[in-house]
Symmetry: C2
Subunit: 320 residues, 2 copies
């Protein structure tokens, strides 16, 4: 059984997603910090998806994908391969509909994250830690169980769900000049761009990408998708290569991708903890790192900043 | 120049305080956590004063005290002795009115906190690290500058300002069964009790106090103020002895004070960081520690939980 994969969502699909997930997802608050405004010279409005169910924006996309299925499709459950927030989000979303979630987890994945996925009620399928093994195991689960694949960022309904972050932010804060999100596989960045420009066509869009996984920045610069990047970054949520359609959206919406070093990101992460008082994971801090690196481009502007998640191991903080 | 000190505020004074500070203070969000609800068996509504200006509820009381002064009184500024959140809050509050703030700081106080007080624009006065030296230096500053003393918890307008936390919480969340705040000097706990019972006379009130500074619990048990406790706790915000009038309020409103060990508090602090995704200081975690220690008393209830502050040194976390 196959599942629509790849096409970019329309703004209507994002609005539909917002209505579909409303009974299940949290409306997350937008927070401010005097100190971070002073430091950046900008007016920063932080959209706190670390406060979403499961501690990350991923719940929105997974929840939309799960509830967009017809009853017959949904009956056999859903499957994905992920050792991180998407696997957990899909398990939680499936639970809201009472259907099975299969999560393919590579050996060597972070134990705490696997435990969280299991607690959320998913059926785990372990495989070797290679992309080929993950895909083979996923295909086998699809075939033997009839579960529907929900890809973490290339799935249309996932992208639409992620776009609701920005739909919601633009309802909460009026008159933003600019918006910045992290860029990994590009599910959030593409959904955000489509939602943002449908509502405010003049909004300046930025992405933040780790220097050690800068395939999106390279792809935009070279005019074609660069797949040769071997990720080397602490930002475990942003190691995926940007998807083909996700890249199309970044290009079409002129998203300016700023690359940041892990050192810049860790410094920004500490600022988000100490000044905004938010526990965010390292990937989430790339956006503030980008703003502080390119201060002159953001100063004086009213900027929407998406904080994507807050799932961290408190015993292994990167500044200790 | 002296300043009204000691009388408990009326509910009207708390309502006046809310109106007075509204242009300056943040309306802080109330956050929830699926995991903490599951762990406690209760429905926990966390009032996040770690997100207040200055990172603590103290701004409310200081702001109310500063703006309650007549112009002639205010002209010479305000003074307090504090090496912690109240000193910083008073400096920030004075800045909103454009008056001087004098803060008496004992030698040996945490450098980061002193730096914050200085950044907020206060005039620092250093003294020896004893209570007598602090009081003598404060009296001298009052005399030489004409500044008005704003006591951290025994000041009527400070208590009224702290009470606005609960006024606001009860407007944000309907149908609470119980409310819990930390107990230090008692400014928050007494203001909260007065506000809570004026609005919902049947609300069950709890306080959380470190076992190593359990003077309020001892005083309530013995029927008279116990002043022999020598504080020995990591909860630096809760080392003050409860004030005489503050204790009267706890007694009159039947506030049940639960004592918690520092180990319980540190475990609760980690849960607030990892599950609620909020950076809170150790004193703030006493409330969750109390709920988890006395699970059977809170299970099944809708509980308002005041998180008082989030000013921590990220380089010196108590679980590392």
């Amino acid at each position: 059984m196959s599942h629509e994969l790849g096409a970019l969502p329309s703004f209507e699909q994002i609005r539909d997603a917002a209505a579909r997930i409303a009974p299940h997802a949290r409306v997350t608050p937008v927070l401010r910090s005097d100190a971070l405004d002073a430091l950046s010279g900008a007016e920063l409005h932080f959209k706190c998806e670390n406060l979403q169910h499961g501690g990350a924006f991923k719940f929105r996309g997974a929840c939309n994908a799960v509830w967009a299925l017809g009853d017959a499709q949904a009956a056999h459950g859903v499957v994905t391969h992920s050792s991180g927030n998407h696997g957990n989000a899909l398990a939680m979303a499936a639970a809201t509909r009472g259907i099975a979630a299969h999560v393919v987890v590579p050996e060597g994945a972070v134990r705490a994250k696997i435990a969280a996925i299991e607690r959320a009620g998913a059926i785990l399928h372990r495989c070797a830690p290679t992309q080929a093994a993950r895909e083979a195991m996923t295909a086998e689960v699809e075939k033997t169980t009839g579960a529907v694949l929900v890809h973490p960022y290339a799935d249309t309904q996932v992208m639409a769900g992620q776009g609701t972050v920005v739909l919601e932010l633009l309802q909460q804060v009026r008159g933003l000049d600019a918006l910045i999100t992290p860029v990994g596989g590009g599910g959030l960045a593409s959904g955000a761009a489509i939602a943002a420009h449908a509502i405010q066509p003049a909004l300046a869009l930025f992405g933040a990408e780790p220097l050690g996984a800068d395939d999106a920045a390279q792809s935009l610069a070279h005019g074609a998708r660069v797949t040769s990047v071997v990720p080397d970054t602490l930002c475990d949520g942003l190691r995926a290569l940007v998807g083909e359609r996700n890249l199309d959206a970044l290009r079409a919406h002129r998203v300016d991708v700023i690359t940041v070093s892990d050192a810049e990101t860790i410094a920004a992460m500490q600022l988000l903890w100490s000044e905004l008082k938010q526990v965010v994971e390292v990937s989430s801090a790339t956006v503030l790192a980008a703003i502080l690196q390119q201060r002159e481009r953001f100063a004086g502007r009213r900027v929407g900043v998406v904080l994507t998640g807050g799932n961290v191991d408190l015993q292994a903080l990167p500044w200790y």
